[in-house]
């Protein structure tokens, strides 16, 4: 099996890293250009899904184990809500990013937006990869321990 699809395997290896880099660009450049956490999360997940399709589920799960993916699903929501709670602890309203730089509110807004977009991106990446694992894992069954 490993001797088939030579072109696909070479192109995938070249593309996977580029796709991840592009996802990071969309993630952290969302303030200035189209895109943000939702799109970046999907693009990030696509890199791993492409790898999984070409090299098989076992290979991609060695790179990105299911337990880590499942943690990411919850971690993103925690980052988002945590940003809001942190603003509350600083004496501001929930999700009022002005709290992060009282002397210069628009700087605080920048930091807050980066933080919540990161949360969105992490959750979307996790959910997309988790759903792909769940579907791809059904055909040749994976062991229950992986869950």
């Amino acid at each position: 099996m490993h001797h088939h699809h030579l072109i696909l395997r070479v192109v995938t290896k070249l593309l996977a890293g580029t796709i991840i880099l592009y996802a990071l660009y969309v993630q952290f450049h969302g303030d200035f250009s189209p895109g943000g956490g939702f799109q970046a999360g999907v693009i990030m997940a696509v890199a791993f899904i492409l790898y999984g399709i070409v090299f098989g589920l076992v290979a991609v799960q060695q790179v990105f184990p299911p337990w880590l993916v499942h943690k990411l699903v919850a971690l993103g929501v925690l980052i988002y809500a945590g940003t809001g709670v942190y603003a509350m602890m600083l004496g501001y309203e929930f999700l009022d990013y002005g709290a992060f730089d009282p002397g210069h509110p628009s700087h605080g807004q920048h930091n807050g937006i980066l933080a919540v977009e990161l949360g969105v991106g992490v959750t979307v990446t996790g959910v997309m990869i988790a759903i792909y694992y769940a579907f791809a894992g059904r055909a040749p069954r994976i062991s229950d321990e992986d869950w």
């Binding site: 943000g36 809001g84 807004q109 959750t123 759903i131 869950w147």
Partner: protein, 186 residues
């Protein structure tokens, strides 16, 4: 004028893709055409200058959905079952729904109307204040993450809940099937 022509061409392609999807029985071709449908929709969003929405449509609709549908197809059948019942009732339902939708658009403001409710309510305020208050060049991001931060938190929670739901459903089934097989072995 050019934009109108582009819109007409895109809508014509959209409609012909939809007809092709309805007529085909090969599920692989249907999934690929659904992906094409999403890409055409993304192009329509681009002509409306809604690049963020177009980006999402291209990534989610044309990208991830296609992969997930292919994954589902791999678990089920490759071809649609031949139709046994008559088309009359579904066709009637579609016609009535379509007529109701078209009737609903009568009350909507004209395309690009500057006095449409969506343009005069909070949008001008956001556009005016965002550079001063948030200082982010992409207004969409400013609205999405800051002015509408609560909504986006809700959206993230929805994505989270959807992911957990799919995981629970699929992993539960896998376990049950395994138990059944073990019983069968004995």
């Amino acid at each position: 004028m050019t934009e109108t022509i582009i819109n007409f061409i895109l809508f014509a392609m959209l409609i012909s893709t939809a007809f092709a999807i309805v007529r085909m029985t090969s599920l692989f071709a249907v999934i690929m055409l659904a992906s094409v449908f999403s890409l055409l929709t993304a192009l329509l969003f681009v002509t409306l200058d809604a690049v963020d929405v177009a980006f999402t449509e291209a990534a989610v609709g044309a990208g991830i959905s296609t992969v997930l549908m292919l994954g589902t197809m791999a678990l089920t059948a490759r071809h649609a079952k031949p139709q046994t019942q008559s088309n009359a009732i579904p066709f009637l339902v579609v016609c009535v729904t379509g007529a109701a939708l078209i009737y609903g658009t009568m009350d909507m403001p004209n395309f690009g109307d500057p006095n449409a409710p969506a343009q005069v309510h909070v949008a001008p305020e956001y556009l005016e204040r965002s550079i001063e208050e948030i200082d982010v060049p992409n207004v969409v991001t400013a609205i999405l993450a800051s002015y509408r931060g609560y909504d986006t938190l809700g959206e993230t929670a929805v994505v989270f809940a959807a992911g957990i739901g799919v995981l629970l459903l699929l992993s539960g089934l896998a376990r049950r099937r395994k138990e059944d097989e073990e019983e069968g072995d004995i």
